[in-house]
């Protein structure tokens, strides 16, 4: 065929393409039927409002574009809104918006029978609820006029959007004990959380657009505890630490009140770690949830007061002593033995306590004294000889634990009173004078504890002189002996 003869064919094909393309498009997005177009003459304009008996209202506006692109675009309005036709427009009376929606859902079920929809796991759950008298509202998830298949028919840009489709509504979950839990997830909270980049199924594993297994829990608490297991998939280090904690011990013993990950960190609203005073305040508030009495004591203590009222970030918060995840039982000897070291973290560190005029010798003076040395050996004996040890007086025995007060503000008489009481726990017949045997963390000097200072000074002079005398005598003796020979 010559080129000249081909041109008319090419032109025909070229010009017919848009026509064919439009035709194809029309095949997918069918024009609404004439009957429907008539309905849209009124309902396609905004401003029509339907009022229910309880004064609730719903807009009767229908976006023609959405109807055209919906999966129901081949239906006429009256196929769903039965009873309405060109000539009939009955005024339906509904008690409330909810009743109206419930009624509308029953229309869907005319075509989408239970048998047809139960294959989808999420539907299976809803159908089960329906049997128990709680009818699901289809339009909550699928919308009304812009109805689209929750998957397949419409492609969601991400999984979160897909889940949100349903979970932005007031869904709820029932537990065997009759308790209910809302399954509504506020997208704004999710976006502001530390996990905003995660997909829903990263935590809710087993759930996807394909699967939505039905899970039964005895109680809401059981569900919370089971959910915390998903944290370990990413936070394995902290998860394993919690297995050694006193909280997990309680859980193992069957105490379901023992806190799990989400009790402290929350679930969808998990936030980034906050440092400084703000972080300290948040953390102490979390512990307060279960330990309110201890919090009250702490809040009044020199440490708590400085944190809460002075916004001081040098003071310890709960987790500085108790740690965050591998929290040990503070009543054990192992914990008791660690206390001087814990206090020493700050009180032996000039960078922390130096600016408050506090001595950094307090830990050293304790550890080198009778009790400190004994404590050190008891710890070693326990670890190496498996010997049971007695609790030796440590920092908190004299200074208090959560209710620590400044020794300066408490005054010497109050401190001494505490001391006598503590001394008498082990030294039954200790008198008021007995605590004075302790040097109160001071190093002996001429003004403080002169007797000890003098004794030490005398020997510091006398021992070297005697030593030098001996050595000199020995050397002279050897020298004389050598000369004599």
């Amino acid at each position: 065929m010559k080129v000249g003869k081909r041109i008319p064919w090419i032109l025909v094909l070229l010009f017919s393409f848009p026509v064919l393309a439009v035709g194809y498009g029309h095949a997918r997005e069918t024009e609404v039927s004439d009957v429907s177009r008539k309905c849209l003459q009124c309902h396609g304009k905004q401003g029509i409002v339907k009022t229910f008996l309880n004064e609730e209202t719903v807009e009767a506006y229908v976006n023609p574009e959405k109807i055209r692109t919906s999966v129901h675009n081949f239906l006429t309005c009256s196929e769903c809104h039965s009873g309405f036709s060109e000539g009939k427009h009955p005024s339906g009376k509904y008690k409330s918006k909810f009743q109206f929606r419930l009624r509308s859902s029953s229309i869907c079920r005319r075509c989408h029978s239970a048998d047809r929809i139960k294959a989808k796991p999420v539907h299976a759950t809803l159908l089960k609820k329906e049997k128990m008298g709680e009818s699901p509202i289809c339009t909550n998830c699928h919308d009304a006029h812009s109805v689209s298949a929750a998957s397949g028919g419409k492609v969601f840009s991400n999984e979160k959007q897909y889940c949100q489709k349903c979970h932005q509504h007031e869904l709820s979950m029932n537990f065997s004990d009759g308790e209910k839990m809302s399954l509504k997830v506020d997208p704004a909270i999710l976006e502001s959380s530390a996990h905003s980049k995660l997909r829903c199924s990263d935590c809710h594993y087993g759930y996807s657009s394909e699967e939505h297994p039905e899970k039964n829990f005895r109680s809401r608490r059981d569900y919370v505890i089971a959910s915390s297991e998903s944290c370990r998939r990413c936070h394995f280090d902290n998860y394993t630490k919690t297995l050694d904690s006193v909280h997990y011990d309680l859980l193992k013993q069957g105490n379901l009140k023992a806190p799990v990950c989400n009790d402290c960190h929350g679930s969808h609203q998990i936030s980034h770690i906050t440092h400084g005073v703000k972080g300290g305040l948040i953390t102490t508030q979390r512990c307060k949830k279960c330990h309110p009495m201890i919090y009250e004591m702490y809040a009044k203590s020199v440490h708590g007061n400085a944190l809460i009222n002075e916004q001081n970030q040098d003071v310890p918060i709960c987790i500085d002593c108790h740690t965050a995840h591998d929290i040990q039982n503070p009543m054990t000897l192992a914990y008791h033995e660690k206390i001087p070291q814990m206090c020493g973290n700050c009180h032996a560190n000039p960078a922390v306590v130096g600016k408050y005029g506090l001595s950094t010798d307090v830990v050293k003076t304790y550890l080198s004294d009778f009790h400190g040395v004994t404590l050190g050996f008891y710890k070693k004996q326990r670890e190496e000889l498996y010997k049971p040890a007695r609790p030796i007086a440590v920092c908190n025995d004299c200074h208090g634990t959560h209710n620590i007060v400044s020794t300066v503000s408490a005054g010497p008489t109050s401190v001494k009173k505490n001391l006598v009481r503590r001394c008498q726990k082990c030294h039954k017949d200790a008198t008021e004078e007995f605590p004075n045997a302790w040097l109160f963390h001071y190093k002996p000097s001429f003004s403080k504890f002169p007797m000890i200072f003098v004794v030490n000074s005398i020997y510091r002079i006398f021992i070297p002189i005697m030593w030098a005398g001996f050595v000199l005598q020995i050397l002279l003796h050897i020298w004389r002996y050598a000369v004599n020979r």
Binding site: Q381, L385, I452
Partner: protein
């Protein structure tokens, strides 16, 4: 005891069996006290911690230290009471008491060491160095016992004395221990083992006997008294035994 019975194979009896046993007792108790005490004073050393754990822990170490302290106190009590009884009943000379002669002997010996005297000081049963050692250990031992009791019963003590006495007693106890330890470790060990006069060991406290040569050299006054001669006669009978520098120098 007559003169002959105090000799055996040319050796002279210096210490009785009682003193030999007593010395063994002191060796044993002080060794235990030093071991269990020094490891408490230097508790931070690796060796101390190893030792304490080997003894079954700090409580055991304290218990051993305290009960050995009781033994040591009994030994001290026995030594002083037996000594005093002996002196009071006229059995022994009060030879251990420090006299003016000891100061003179000390100065004499220093002069001798520097070559200003031609013989060392002529001493009696105990020379000034032995006396110094004895009294340091005796007075030190009494101090140790007193402070040890204070540390053992702090609650009882604070019923009578101010609380500061407890840490003061601790300071005194550990400092005095160091002093006695140095005295023993340096001075006594040198004199009894490393001194060229006795090396490898001064056996007199273990066997009870001392050679006549050493008696002439170290305790000439006692020997002269034992043999019923004057020190001058003893020196004349044993020429050169008491070292005479000038004589030796002339001979060379």
């Amino acid at each position: 005891m007559n003169r002959e019975s105090r000799r055996k194979g040319g050796k002279i009896r210096r210490f009785s069996t009682f003193r030999i046993v007593e010395h063994w007792g002191i060796i044993l108790t002080t060794m235990i006290l030093f071991a269990t005490g020094l490891c408490q004073r230097f508790w931070h050393l690796e060796l101390s911690q190893w030792f304490i754990l080997k003894l079954g822990g700090i409580d055991n170490v304290r218990l051993i230290h305290r009960y050995t302290g009781i033994l040591f106190s009994l030994e001290l009590l026995m030594n002083t009471s037996v000594g005093m009884m002996g002196v009071i009943r006229g059995k022994w000379q009060p030879s251990i008491f420090i006299s003016k002669k000891d100061y003179e002997d000390a100065i004499h010996n220093i002069k001798y060491y520097f070559g200003f005297e031609n013989h060392p000081a002529k001493c009696d049963r105990y020379d000034y160095m032995e006396k110094f050692e004895y009294w340091t250990i005796l007075i030190g031992g009494i101090l140790m016992i007193m402070t040890g009791v204070i540390l053992w019963f702090p609650t009882l003590v604070t019923r009578i004395l101010p609380g500061e006495f407890i840490p003061a007693a601790k300071a005194l106890h550990s400092n005095e221990a160091m002093l006695i330890f140095l005295l023993n470790a340096v001075w006594h060990i040198y004199n009894a083992i490393f001194s060229p006069e006795v090396f490898p060991l001064d056996t007199s406290i273990f066997t009870g006997y001392i050679s006549r040569e050493r008696m002439i050299r170290e305790h000439p006054l006692e020997l002269a008294r034992m043999e019923g001669v004057t020190p001058e006669e003893l020196e004349k009978d044993n020429p050169g035994k008491i070292r005479d520098l000038k004589v030796e120098a002339a001979a060379r």
